[in-house]
Symmetry: D5
Subunit: 92 residues, 10 copies
């Protein structure tokens, strides 16, 4: 089941650079693990923004929520979620 | 070059049903033609809405604009465009 | 799988009263059919508004979308969808 | 008398982790006490958000306000309240 | 039980003047009947706007909704509802 | 001359509890003084919010502004002001 | 007593040109009459918009409302009203 | 050349009272100097707000910008600028 | 003197195609005339939208307003105006 | 390929003046380097704001993103990006 997720990252300046760097490193590793498992199907950078559009392929709402809550940068993210379904014009 | 496009369709009730049906049919054909050419890479229905999230793969801004302007339903669409680039965490 | 849906109805004055009444009657029948099947778990009127908050229990995103698209008043509704999951504090 | 309440939690990073954890623990206990008393009829997590949709069943506006003001996380919550009534299509 | 209601009237130009005048006359009569019954406690015009702030004193949410739905101008109103309670600083 | 005022209080967590308590105590005293003088005609708590709707009865715009600027919590308030006049349907 | 008023005019295309022209002529005459009486102290066109910023000098809220309601273009205006007072830095 | 400027002041609580007082004193002096030179034609307090509506009469956009950037409270202001021109109904 | 103008065109479906085409033709001619005179310095299409960003170079606010009001499509445009000045980092 | 970028700078008061000055100096140098290379085609100050409208001429979305991410003031900027194309009325 697919979900469209927009994540906008906003790390406050009170977070130390090393802490932020460690969080970003963990974020990347976690993201790549989920991509390899096929759960995080797509991730694109939005040009000019510290933000991404992502497509998740999960079993249900619960799994989506659990994955998002585990994102190391979750406390500093604004997140928008939209449930997707097959488009009648899609050739896939 | 990738672009993220959100299209929300709103056909006013003053448009006759047959005209709307013909427009939707042409829209589907045009969309599928572009999908087959690899220019309209993804299209997903947003659950509960007469709207879609799409990913276009085009040569440049001009080509994106020309494609969108040719959409049969363009006059009845609200469109949002965001330029995309490869995400540093992407494994693709 | 649960979804929270807000529906706001806005029938334009160009729709004849009899047509609107027929649509509302069909809407009620369809809603009650889904409630009896357990797919439309809750529906509450929002005081002072021609609008409701509803909880749907469906198999997946596709089923939610198909049900909403079949609502007789769908063309005159503004809809907001949010995926739900069990709350960690819930005693249910 | 039913009310629909959306609560969005935003604990600022200046609150220490232990303090936040203690507040969350108390919040859960208070929520479960009210659920058992039948005053907090439903609580659902909104997927991807540190937020919930809740249904309260209270005697009047005063009781709703008093309950919400006692929430241990109230100072860090953005709250939206809507009065509900029975929907004419409801089979309950 | 008190509710704060903002009503903004917007009669479309497609409604004939005589029809609008008749609706306004009925609206005034209905409003004054409720004021005399003590259910519509206050009504003030907002300077420069075809809008009012009102205070209703009703038994419960259901009664508020029923009264508002009976307003002759309801189909042409945008309505905002807020539940009120006694303010701790109030001397009344 | 009547004015409708919405006050939303937001005391930042950097203000010490004792300071906040002292401000709230002074706010209540000032509010009650103005209520007794008939200048602050009504004050209602908005259910679920640290906010109120108030009606002021003052000589002119200047007096309204001076009163609001003297509110001990003014620096932590978001304020909305609307000039009121007698509603043509009012029976008062 | 001064009020700041922003008026944005939006005459729908369903209003015939002659009717609109007649309304605009009456609007101008009414505006100039009030300017000569000193009640409409200032009126400026906002560059690029069919809109104006105006300053009214009236006895009270009632007079402001009555003047605005008499504007021939009132039914096609979006209006914003703000009560003004002398600024402490003003040298006037 | 006239410009309409709305200034909303928001001095954060981290600025010491003496610093804020000194800034306000300098702001007043600067404002009065410009008023005397005829460049800051009008300034009105918006009732209930730490904000003003002002009219500037300057040579060009550059001069407007330079004046606004010199405001001692500029770093704590939210500013809105609108270019004005003579209104066709103005009798001035 | 430079101004940044965003124009969004929205021709309602009630305008006949021939009328719209004639307006667009006149719009183009008027735009090109002003471009040749150096008053409409830049015009860019915003990809995916029937809208443009433009830079005008005019004598003053009055001239800007007069030019915009003469646009054949002005009645169907939403316009945003911002006064520009030389940027301190500009090498021009 | 052209992009329209609006940058609004908001340096928090927690950043020391010397640090901010150094960042601004580097920002100017970087901006002028890109202007000389022809990649940052235009930059205009928006009158009354610490903000600019800019036009970038880049190879693709990736290059735009890389340039913006290198802006020394990027962490303190709110950025809006719009893809541009040649306008059919443009004489250039």
């Amino acid at each position: 089941m697919l979900f469209h997720v927009k994540m906008t990252v906003n790390i406050p300046s009170t977070v130390k650079v090393e802490v932020a760097d460690e969080l970003k490193k963990k974020e990347r590793e976690f993201s790549q693990k989920l991509q390899k498992e096929g759960k995080w199907k797509h991730i694109w950078r939005i040009a000019g923004h510290y933000a991404n559009y992502s497509i998740f392929d999960v079993k249900d709402n619960e799994e989506l929520h659990e994955l998002l809550m585990q994102l190391p940068l979750f406390p500093y993210m604004e997140i928008e979620v939209n449930a997707l379904c097959k488009h009648p014009s899609s050739i896939v």
